[in-house]
């Protein structure tokens, strides 16, 4: 599946304690500030596999995640949707586990599992009782070692994926809006701008040869990170990792293609006709600063100030004061969180509204609410509130879903930054952000010329309404 995760699922990471300094003075207020630091042990096997261990004995469970650095951005040009179809194939049979047996193995040992395809990685994970760590590592290594899939399996999963696209995109109002649509309109580089879920005809055209070639190219230990979180002993885990993943061979990886997007100099507008929608909707997408730059950290806080929570500027203006919508949505990386991607990204805000309100009215209202961020340094107390909200989201991510949230951070930081320890320093990066930096970032990245405005236009109800098509230029 392509995991679609909303805002809070994006909060991530941990951090070291910034508030230690003021705790002595804070006698009347809260006793001491929240603080979280997770253990991080990081090393690489000779075959290049990145391994991250983070024991936590709160609950007798473990979460194992394997992240491959192949997302849907860089799938083959004539095979849109292939990275995701391939993800499904990873459950269809490996050297020692036939179709259905991987899932059975996890379930029958008391666990749950899933996989997802994102911009810059494809992940596979399972949560199991703590005593089943070796079982999980054996099974993940087995499928990293080789697939044993058949034409029949492929045909079956082409049917399943076709149904996934129908249920998530084609057969529902606002299908693909804005998470699948906006990148296609806002980006110019094919790698960032194609239909990630895939055209049905491309999905149907995939062959077993494509599957094996894709596996051979990208599914190798030197293109992957393994993260283990939960109730385990690190020394024992290392032995299992060595035993099962050690023998796997590294492969020669192709060079990463150029994923860059040019600076956008002119606002773009597009309208998507949606025969199934009953109310119009609008989304604004702004190109983000490059990940891990000072402006990027400032932009994450701008996201908190603009759209996260009922105190946010857009909620106050559009929901509370003007009643334009009931819910301002959006965020950074709608398929994950602000941390688990690598390439170019969009900051998106979107909402459903009534036909009586024009798109221009909404864009003006949004501009009005954003303007103070661009014209003057933000008040320190507002910036402080944004950092608190971000920390709160971050902790939720760390605690999310029996270790999966932490696995996601550790594996992403290992794959993209070669430094999973970033989870413990992340908050300090946000604390460096000044009101002046917020203003400078807003001036460049909240420029009207840097955005794409996408409208969903409900169609007058014809008797035989066709389902909405997902891609642009329909």
């Amino acid at each position: 599946m392509i995991l679609k995760i909303d805002r809070a699922a994006r909060a991530i990471a941990l951090f070291a304690a910034l508030i230690l300094l003021c705790s002595a003075a804070a006698s009347a207020g809260p006793s001491s500030a929240a603080e979280l630091k997770v253990p991080v042990e990081y090393y690489k096997l000779p075959n290049g596999l990145r391994v991250v261990l983070s024991p936590d004995h709160t609950s007798p469970t473990i979460c194992v995640g394997v992240y491959y650095r192949i997302g849907f951005r860089i799938e083959p040009r004539d095979r849109t949707g292939f990275a995701h179809l391939f993800e499904h194939m990873m459950f269809q049979g490996s050297q020692n586990l036939a179709k259905m047996e991987f899932v059975k193995l996890v379930q029958q040992n008391g666990g749950i599992l899933n996989g997802s395809t994102r911009f810059d990685f494809t992940n596979y994970f399972e949560v199991l009782p703590a005593n089943k760590l070796e079982t999980a590592l054996w099974a993940e290594a087995d499928r990293m070692g080789g697939l044993a899939v058949t034409e029949e399996n492929l045909k079956n999963q082409q049917g399943v994926v076709g149904n996934e696209v129908k249920v998530n995109v084609l057969n529902r109002p606002y299908g693909g809006f804005p998470w699948l649509d906006m990148p296609q309109y806002a980006n110019t580089n094919w790698f960032n701008a194609h239909n990630f879920y895939g055209d049905l005809k491309d999905i149907e055209a995939a062959t077993l040869t494509d599957v094996q070639a894709f596996f051979k190219t990208y599914y190798a230990p030197n293109n992957a990170a393994l993260a283990i979180v939960g109730d385990f002993d690190a020394a024992e885990a290392k032995k299992f990792v060595e035993k099962y993943f050690g023998p796997l061979k590294a492969s020669e990886l192709p060079a990463q293609p150029d994923l860059t997007e040019p600076r956008q100099e002119k606002e773009k507008r597009a309208t998507k006709n949606d025969a199934l929608a009953k109310r119009p909707a609008i989304a604004l997408g702004y190109h983000m600063p490059e990940r891990n730059t000072p402006e990027y950290y400032a932009m994450c806080l701008i996201d908190e100030m603009l759209i996260e929570g009922d105190d946010s500027l857009l909620h106050q203006e559009l929901v509370q004061k003007r009643g334009i919508t009931g819910n301002v949505q959006g965020g950074i990386n709608l398929l994950g969180n602000p941390w688990d991607y690598k390439g170019p990204m969009l900051f998106i805000t979107n909402m459903i509204h009534d036909p009586a309100t024009s798109a221009d009215t909404i864009v003006q209202a949004i501009d009005g609410a954003m303007e103070p961020l661009r014209t003057k340094p933000v008040e320190q107390k507002m910036l402080d509130r944004a950092v608190v909200k971000l920390r709160s989201d971050l902790y939720d991510t760390v605690g999310q879903f029996s270790g999966f949230g932490l696995v996601d951070l550790l594996a992403s930081f290992a794959l993209f930054d070669d430094n999973p320890g970033r989870v413990n320093t992340l908050v300090s990066e946000y604390q460096k952000v000044t009101p002046e930096l917020v203003q400078k970032t807003a001036q460049e990245y909240l420029r009207p010329e840097n955005r794409t405005v996408l409208l969903v236009q409900p169609q007058p109800q014809a008797p035989a309404a066709a389902p909405a098509a997902p891609a642009k230029n329909q």
Binding site: F91, V103, K104, G323
Partner: protein, 467 residues
């Protein structure tokens, strides 16, 4: 309908799953792992204030956050027929300020603690929730106490909230899953409040601020409230804040009992959605409620039949036929009420065939008890999932709220795993035969009528399911 930060935390496990009994032949056998580690449900403390409000404190984990959740026995069940939606509008109004805080001041106060106030009205309960950084536990309690006892319920905001509600209704009515659920519940519950998933536009239009105030006065009170605090927090400080914040809250009226008698009937109900590439199918019937001794055996049966990735129905219509992506069966519960439901979005051409396979799998389980290994696999699965369900502050509150609403008693969580593992193959067969009867199921289909009518014709009457 109300989205909050905390709600969004749940990573929904989609569908990437399958099933089959291991048969590894020449292949390597998976390592079995070590001896299992013990698990006990985290300890918690429950007590009542003098005014009857119950309190449960659950110190848990090392994430420096604490969730404060107030569950009130006030929901759709308490709405007058002509005022459907008033529970939700009242809940929304709670966020519009208190006698001491304006709406924006309230939003800022929650944000300074790292949270947003969420209020959600369900069928049986309205829940208020804030999820804050650990050091703000007592302040979060104080905030919730203020919101629930001293709301402004301002008339000036009502028109806006009604517009939001009308917009949500319009959107929900255009979603095939919501359309199917609404039909399914209406057919099953008729005029009982559980039969109305959505308010009517008419009831929203005519709702006045007096209606909301009346609903609040009649249904909000300490005697119907249960406060849950879970996570890492200062227990003494939170207790003190609870006493200070809630002890003067009036007891209010007692919760009403209105357990429905849902219809068990074969009925085929098709809503036309011309051009739809999939049929949204909801098929099910009433089953024993949470208080029945059959509850746990039914849960095991459901997980084996359609309620897990590896279940029989999912293996069949997804992994064999490729006709659907995320089919799922569930036991859906309200207060002392439950139904079994299989829901699936199925490729239009495949609709009749898949329905036949769903019924076929049920009948197979009625005719023949599952093998011991298959059942044991499901029992291990449920035992493992139980640990996961008790391993985060949000999940713990969810579990305890379920136990408390249904009145299952402290024992339920302590004996759950034992009960799951006591279920025999014969029990599963018996549960299927006794409760999951295709010939008595309501079948709701939202899809392209012209293309599916013929496929569905055999299921219009009770006889066909048995062919």
């Amino acid at each position: 309908m109300i989205r909050t930060r905390t709600e969004k935390l749940l990573l929904v496990l989609g569908a990437t799953a399958l099933t089959a009994i291991p048969a590894w032949g020449q292949k390597q056998t998976p390592p079995a792992g070590g001896p299992p580690k013990a698990f006990t449900v985290p300890a918690h403390e429950t007590y009542a204030l003098a005014n009857g409000m119950k309190v449960t404190l659950i110190p848990y984990g090392n994430i420096p956050k604490v969730t404060v959740n107030l569950a009130l026995r006030a929901g759709g069940l308490n709405e007058p027929r002509e005022l459907l939606g008033v529970a939700n509008i009242t809940g929304e109004l709670l966020k519009e300020g208190t006698s001491s805080l304006s709406a924006s001041a309230l939003a800022e106060a929650a944000a300074r603690m790292g949270s947003t106030l969420s209020v959600s009205a369900g069928a049986d309960e309205t829940a208020l929730d804030v999820d804050v950084l650990s050091e703000y536990g007592p302040d979060a309690v104080k905030l919730l106490a203020d919101v629930v006892q001293h709301p402004l319920l301002p008339e000036a905001e009502l028109a806006r909230l009604k517009s939001n509600q009308l917009r949500q209704i319009a959107v929900a009515k255009s979603q095939p899953g919501q359309m199917a659920l609404a039909r399914f519940r209406k057919l099953m519950y008729g005029d009982h409040p559980y039969g109305d998933v959505l308010p009517t536009e008419e009831s929203i239009h005519k709702m006045s601020i007096e209606d909301a105030k009346k609903f609040y006065a009649a249904n909000y009170g300490a005697g119907r409230a249960h406060l849950y605090v879970a996570g890492k927090f200062d227990v003494a400080g939170v207790k003190k804040a609870i006493e200070a914040g809630f002890s003067s809250w009036a007891k209010g009226s007692v919760a009403i009992e209105n357990v429905p008698k849902p219809k068990t009937q074969r009925l085929l109900d098709v809503t036309d959605r011309p051009g739809a590439p999939q049929s949204t199918v909801y098929v099910g019937l009433p089953v024993a409620s949470a208080t029945s001794p059959d509850n746990v055996p039914l849960m095991v049966t459901n997980a084996l039949l359609g309620g897990s990735f590896g279940s029989r129905i999912t293996s069949n219509i997804r992994e064999k036929l490729g006709c659907t992506y995320s089919p799922n069966s569930q036991i859906s519960r309200r207060y002392h009420d439950a139904y079994w439901l299989e829901a699936a979005d199925i490729t239009t051409d495949c609709t009749g065939k898949s329905l036949g396979e769903i019924f076929g799998e049920i009948q197979r389980l009625q005719k023949e008890a599952p093998g011991a290994a298959e059942l044991q696999g499901i029992q291990s699965y449920l035992s493992g999932v139980f640990v996961i369900q008790n391993s985060s502050r949000g999940a713990l509150i969810g579990q305890l709220r379920y136990v408390d609403l249904q009145g299952l008693g402290e024992d339920y969580l302590k004996t759950y795993v034992q009960k799951v593992n006591a279920v025999t193959p014969a029990d599963v067969q018996k549960m299927t035969t006794e409760y999951i009867k295709p010939e008595q199921m309501t079948i709701v289909v939202v899809g392209d009528k012209a293309k599916i009518s013929e496929q569905l014709a055999p299921y219009a009457t009770t006889g066909a399911a048995n062919k």
